[in-house]
Amino acid sequence: MSDFSGTLTTDERIASPSLLNRLAVRPEIGALIGALVVFVFFTVITSQFVTPAGISTWLDTSATIGIVSVAVALLMIGGEFDLSAGVMTASTSLVTAMLATKLGVNVWLAILVSLVFALAVGAFNGWLVMRTKLPSFIVTLGTFFALQGINLGVTTLVTGTVQVSGIATAPGYASAGYLFASTFSLAGTSFPISIVWWIVVTALAAWVLVRTRFGNWIFAVGGSAASSRAVGVPVGRSKIVLFMTTAGAAWLVGTINILRFTTVQANQGIGLEFEYIIAAVIGGCLLTGGFGSAVGAAIGALIFGMANQGIVYAHWNSDWFKLFLGIMLLAAVLVNNGFRARAERVRR
């Protein structure tokens, strides 16, 4: 992670690694190469993949995965898992929609309440993991099911149906929609604002990770919680903040979705948690923690989005869709592994 900065006087005791080796040490390099391969592949075999309208569709898909996968990457570097992030996107949408449509609350306030809800669930996840010493995989699996049940139960209880819609007529929708669900025009094509959010979130996460003290703590607690504690890193607090971050990112996606589609189904978001994790893993995160990058996770999400829409542009039989996806993801992770093995050698 640590780049050289400033001028260096040459010192015969310090070996200077070659440029290739220095690149290979970066966790996101494998993902970057994977992304290029996927991009070139679909550009060659389809005619619409690189038209502005085509680019808009795959960036759109990538953005909503990428926002959460970046947060999930931070959490995974911190050595933990969050399986509730996917369903959380639906939960936050539902909270916002129900407050705005059933109680007539201003959309801004509804969004704020659902953020508080998300952060509370995230904090609860973190607290439970630290308190019980159970693996976060298990704890968040519990949260995942609990949220799924709450989503369906509360929705049918309050609305009598399984969808909540009609937020478009709620007070404050227009201004909130402008921030979360508008589109901007580039090259005569409209791109959703979620792409901007994705870039902002990625930049912010990357900066926190490599330029702040908290970023160091993330690597430390993921590498070895015991050693971090010994040198005074607040392990519990760091991990709780990380869980709140993934919940917060899921809230952002939930908010973007509800304002954009103006409706939410009670069964949404199931299965997305694995997409986030796989995007983070493609981006160079280890399942064991202590290694990875935010930019890598964003690129991982980009690969996912490109494959997702590229397969449709290629007119392949959709029955095989998941097979392609699985093979692509495996290939990307294999490339990653090759680079990481190389990186380990360079470090030594």
Binding site: Q48, T57, T262, T263, N267, D319, F321
Partner: protein
Amino acid sequence: MLSKKSKRILLGMAAAAGAIALAACSGPASSSSSGGSAANGSATSGGPINVAVVTHGSAGDSFWNVVKNGATDAGKQLGVNVTYNSDGDPGAQSKLIDNAVAQHVDGLVVSMANPDALKTSIQAAVKAGIPVITINSGQSQSAAFGALAHVGQDEGIAGQQAGAKLKSAGKTNLLCVIHEAGNVGLSQRCDGAKQGFGKTTNLQVDINNPTDVEAKIKGALQTDSSIDAVLTLNPQIALSAVNAAKEANSKATVATFDLNSDVVSAIKSGQIAFAVDQQQYEQGYLPIVMLKLYHDNANTVGGGQPVLTGPGFVDKSNVDKVAQYAARGTR
């Protein structure tokens, strides 16, 4: 060491490429990239037209497989290139519609389980001059979004008729099984059944977990032994309900929406009373015909009214005819 690593990477890549080449049935598209001239719904007249079908079915669902067969059969017979894609998540489905618009397809067929979420994408397609036909669900919003026509069955009416049919068979307590949490059409069917029948309880199950479906229905039948009728909304669930009733020693009559070959044989053997058939093959087939007519001759079908494909009832009297077609995946 290094070369071994890169060999392994190359191998992985090669395996991926190989599998893709194997499975790419229809191969890369060779459509001429006609620069965005979708002014009147047709970029190329004379050549084969491209139609994208985008539904909300989950991959591998038996009902939607018949719709897909209908669309692809019609495509083969009429010389239309049909691509079929589906996603149960409304956001993802709307992105698939955007994808079709970006490809300048000559026609679009969409099922609207969640019309509000698809509104923007469908209106963008209409604005781009692509004729849209909605199928299966979303009848009430179809015209407002600018679709040419809607092909499907009215869920409320179908549910009501199914409920009335069970009532006239002398049943008094109905269990209605909903298998997809997000689908409004299913709720409408159960509401309709309640209107036509009377005392009705709804049960929520997850179609992706057959074991759980059976266990839940069994549990419901065991906790309330007065339930004497079960209405399921999907053929896979119907068979689970038959098994569940058997295991719970319940005398409940099972009726279902939609057909597959197993339901047909269960009707033959008297385990299932009847099936409400919405003849979904037509929901795949007819839109392709309609789009072809619109493209070649500017014809529209339906006169602003939905084109109804159901409800029809399949029971002991007509099941033999239907059986052979269900077996080949078209009923």
